[in-house]
Symmetry: C2
Subunit: 295 residues, 2 copies
């Protein structure tokens, strides 16, 4: 199976990035991912303010997908996530919504083994591995890998995990997929500014989805389709995700606007993905019992 190594990374999603490798549609492949610090925090002596931030938030790739064209929609299936044996959670003044209450930087190394993150001697957490950064090249410009958007990027959405699919609109031929920023555990919001940051690798497969029009990323879980939106404010992001959710219900169920809006309100959850990136990300989860398919 093809392996895309983490020695070839980007720091920004851009149509100018050349693919470091190519895969076929419906071909499984591995991508090796650095942690978000590019491995600079190895011990509890390595503090967040002392690292080289220019090599933070690297994404492996991009990988070109043969047979994919600008204007297509692709679905990226995450078959498997393998984690390194050690993760890290840092705190530092200014980091996260309570950053003002942190007096000095502090690093916690968190061993990961046998399905658990060893937060402390007393506290072990079941792993909830997820991919923080996953995206395609945008139509234009350079979007730093720390920023989420319609192209994907730093969505930090815990449903971007093994067994689920992420749908993306494609803006350049080949799509140019890149990924990074694994987390061993993270709750909705990424409330201290980080998850349990960790390196590892992911096994992916990309297929094309003819006949589907998307404004931005959609995550498919076992039970729901989740429309993602990222914006500077919560209300902008929420309005965008709600609008597209209503549009999906109108299209798929042939409903008028008031009924689609009401149906969304009665059945679907507006959820927080993350509140700590340069744009925040929300998702509207529409149960598959209401919306069985996107097309």
């Amino acid at each position: 199976m093809r392996v895309i190594g983490s020695d070839r990374v980007i720091y920004a999603f851009s149509p100018k990035n050349e693919p470091v490798d190519w895969v076929d549609l419906n071909e499984e492949f591995w991508m090796e991912l650095r942690d978000c610090y590019s491995g600079q925090i190895k011990t509890e002596k390595d503090l967040r303010p002392n690292i080289d931030t220019s090599i933070m938030d690297a994404a492996t790739g991009p990988v070109g997908i043969r047979g994919v064209r600008h204007g297509d929609v692709i679905a990226v299936t995450i078959h498997e996530i393998e984690l390194a044996p050690q993760g890290v959670m840092v705190t530092a003044p200014g980091l996260g919504p309570l950053g003002e209450f942190i007096r000095e930087p502090n690093t916690k190394i968190i061993p990961v083994r046998q399905g658990l993150a060893y937060f402390s001697d007393q506290i072990q957490l079941p792993l909830t591995p997820m991919v923080g950064v996953l995206g395609v090249a945008p139509a234009e410009g350079e979007i730093h890998c720390v920023v989420p958007g319609k192209h994907g990027g730093n969505l930090d959405t815990k449903d971007i995990t093994a067994g689920n699919k992420v749908y993306f609109p494609v803006f350049v031929d080949g799509a140019n997929l890149a990924a990074g920023d694994l987390h061993a555990c993270m709750g909705d919001g990424e409330l201290s500014g980080t998850g349990i940051e960790i390196a590892g690798r992911i096994r992916l497969e990309v297929c094309k989805v003819p006949g589907l029009y998307l404004h931005g990323p959609v995550v498919e879980t076992e039970t729901a389709f989740m429309v993602l939106a990222s914006a500077e404010t919560f209300s902008q992001a929420a309005q965008e995700a709600i609008s597209f959710g209503v549009e999906l219900l109108q299209r798929s169920l042939s409903l008028d606007f008031p009924d689609a809006y009401r149906l969304l309100s009665a059945t679907s959850d507006l959820r927080v993905s993350q509140i700590v990136n340069p744009l925040l990300t929300v998702r509207v989860a529409i149960p598959k019992k209401i919306l069985p398919a996107l097309i």
Copy 2:
């Protein structure tokens, strides 16, 4: 069993409201609840802009709880929710985050029977009954029943449902509990501005929780403790809920601030309760696997 009828209502939570009845600690009782329109919308000809808004958002009560004093904390268990046979969802220009796209008012009557809401001939929704308004008298002032806050009120949180408990700080002797605004179905956010609004009754029981200090409402579900906060902006509400979540972890697990903050981030979800009331409400859900008890 004592029944508190829906003929006795308040439109604002206030320390000046006299109890309409008294119950004992650990005594089960029923409260009958009007729908949020006080029953004014009975057919699809009854439009939201034509009703008397002065009698909207009534809460039944208040009920005094014998043996409860200012400074106590109470836990209100919701044992059962019974729904009327018919709910309603209205849309109208300006209602909800997409209200600008609605041209004219429209009322949908939704029959409710045998565990389902009959949204249309094609679409039936499993019921997710919940109590929109539940609260105690605040320390001072008058807080309209449409507003959420530290006293509870219009929290519109779908976990305020049968089988769960809601903890409140008590600001006046007797607590003076009031409730209203049942929903047959609602997703997180209450995205069109309403759930499936419906009348009905709820069976409650109140107990005292000695030794617990709370800033505001906490909901206990089978799997989590959820810290609620309401504010004018999402970020204010989020910061408040996160702060109190961190405080709970520090207290209960004897953690320092950075570790409690990180642990919350790795394990707990910031969720949206509602975005359509005068203040919006969020909750931080801390899994019981991490926080087995509040004290």
